[in-house]
Symmetry: C2
């Protein structure tokens, strides 16, 4: 980690000591230098993305520090996965309030370490600074794809099918539970939904397998409809989603049932970190095979049309009025 | 820029429109995707670094937004330069307080645009979010070097000479002026020192030219002595600096004179963004030639010894007691 001076070796060196073991890549130089070296594998190009997280906006102060660490990293790994990229490394810029104690940081670093092993990535650089405000994190993640194969937002074509991985709305429900909803539901249901909010599962196996099949893709972070709206806008098409086909988890069904209001709420909640993508009809069977191999459910939920925008359709094919398509971070 | 939902297109789209023109690299896709593509030139590897800046810690709220933008970018370009890397691109994670208005952001983006043209880099990704706290920025910058030529912190050897570019202590004096020092000094002096604080000059020509000559290098951000201390620690050597050889600008001399207290203060102030480096004696003439070609003054200020730590020596060669070696950000 750079920054910080040598005059308060206690605090600074303790932080450096916490994060140095995470710098497992040779080009990271154990975080003892000002920059790291990274080279894509032969024939590949690097894919790079960044996300900032702010306490009270993207996570709760009461969230366990290991979960905050994992969520921050996984949000970025999810971006890479949705682009078809295999993750390699990441950098972490950390702005810490005065009140942050070493025990908190230790658990935070431990959580990162666990995820590094799970996802095969290395910390390759960072910066730690003090802030008079809320805890703020920025992670920049790097992955790679064979040249020219990154899955773009642009590329969806009229007639393509629309798919989404996993289940939708769980993380939003988990956040609602942390804010007081569903006090009467069984603990197992609560725990499952809260876990989906705190520690999403980036689809790192599925994403790279979709290269050459998906015509457009992104990860669902703002909300299923909002994010499909991004694909529609960039691809200059219209995306229609059948509300009844949106995959809901048993836990979410136990909390809210499956009426239209629950479906709309799921489709407009954020933080799912599933992959939403489009693909030509001829790719359907290959996609389902890949999903089975990656052990990730993939559900066909709609179709790409000429036009613009995103529409949620009821069982009669009529458009459902949706007050807002996603979660507003900003 | 990712994040943010489509439901408040006014604010979000305005921000996207401000930053999109900065995405001049083809792999940035005009910031319309979730990730960017970057490939180092043939035979080169990427060098990557990140820095976080927090209002009231790294810059003042009253600093002009264009200066804040430029300083953030230049801090990172300075890191790359000191490693011998030519800059290519950067990502920006921006956490904005509610009170940030579009005029502020417009000037900020304009400042970035000016610097992109000056330094030949492109914005290739970003994330904008809201914060209840102070304005916080994280920039990740990417550059490249021919394989294996990044100048490390490790590498200084006993007998090497110690050099520094430009002049030292100006930025620290600029900050002191903004906080009330030197009200009686001429405006031109004030303006020059404040400009050095607000808009440092990363040594982008000098740095890459030092590849193969410098045995170790870094940019002076924490303070000359603190940063040479980093080289000493990583290279496992002792660095001795002759106080009287530390280059001071005419503006700094006008403000504070050149007594020992002024020299110590300069050597322990932060934010210089000059390159401090070591090199074998046989490289001296080549270094001075390169400095002349890059139009950047380079001054020999000391020598690498066996041992550890960094020492500031008076004209008799005795060590001067220095209460602290650098500026404490954290």
């Amino acid at each position: 980690m750079t920054s910080s001076s040598s005059d308060r070796p206690g605090e600074f060196e303790l932080i450096a000591r916490l994060f140095a073991p995470l710098a497992t890549a040779p080009g990271a130089f154990g975080l003892t230098d000002d920059a790291a070296i990274i080279t894509p594998p032969a024939g590949e190009e690097l894919v790079v993305t960044t996300d900032a997280l702010v306490e009270a906006v993207h996570f709760l102060r009461s969230d366990p520090p290991a979960s905050i660490a994992k969520k921050s990293l996984r949000m970025n790994l999810s971006d890479l996965a949705a682009k078809g990229a295999a993750p390699i490394a990441y950098l972490l810029a950390l702005s810490l309030p005065d009140a942050t104690d070493m025990a908190w940081l230790k658990t935070f670093a431990h959580g990162l370490g666990e995820d590094q092993r799970e996802y095969g990535v290395s910390l390759i650089g960072g910066d730690t600074t003090r802030t008079p405000g809320p805890l703020t994190l920025a992670i920049t993640a790097l992955g790679s794809v064979p040249r020219g194969t990154m899955i773009r937002r642009a590329g969806a074509k009229k007639g393509d099918l629309v798919f989404v991985s996993g289940t939708i709305g769980d993380a939003g429900a988990g956040l609602a539970i942390l804010k007081g909803e569903g006090v009467a539901i069984p603990d197992a249901v609560r725990d499952e939904l809260v876990a989906r909010y705190r520690e999403p599962s980036p689809r790192v196996s599925l994403g790279p397998a979709l290269r050459g099949l998906a015509s457009a893709a992104l990860d669902v972070s703002d909300g299923l409809l909002a994010d499909l709206g991004h694909i529609a806008e960039t691809s200059q098409v219209r995306i229609e989603v059948d509300a009844g086909r949106i995959p809901l988890s048993p836990a979410l069904l136990a909390l809210r049932g499956n009426d239209l209001a629950a479906l709309v709420r799921a489709a407009t909640a954020g933080d799912d970190y599933e992959i939403a993508f489009t693909a030509p009809e001829r790719a359907r069977s290959a996609i389902l095979k890949i999903a089975a191999e990656a052990c990730v459910p993939v559900t066909e939920i709609g179709r790409v049309q000429a036009g613009h925008g995103v529409a949620l359709l009821d069982s009669a094919g009529h458009e459902i009025a949706v007050p807002r398509t996603g979660y507003v971070h900003f």
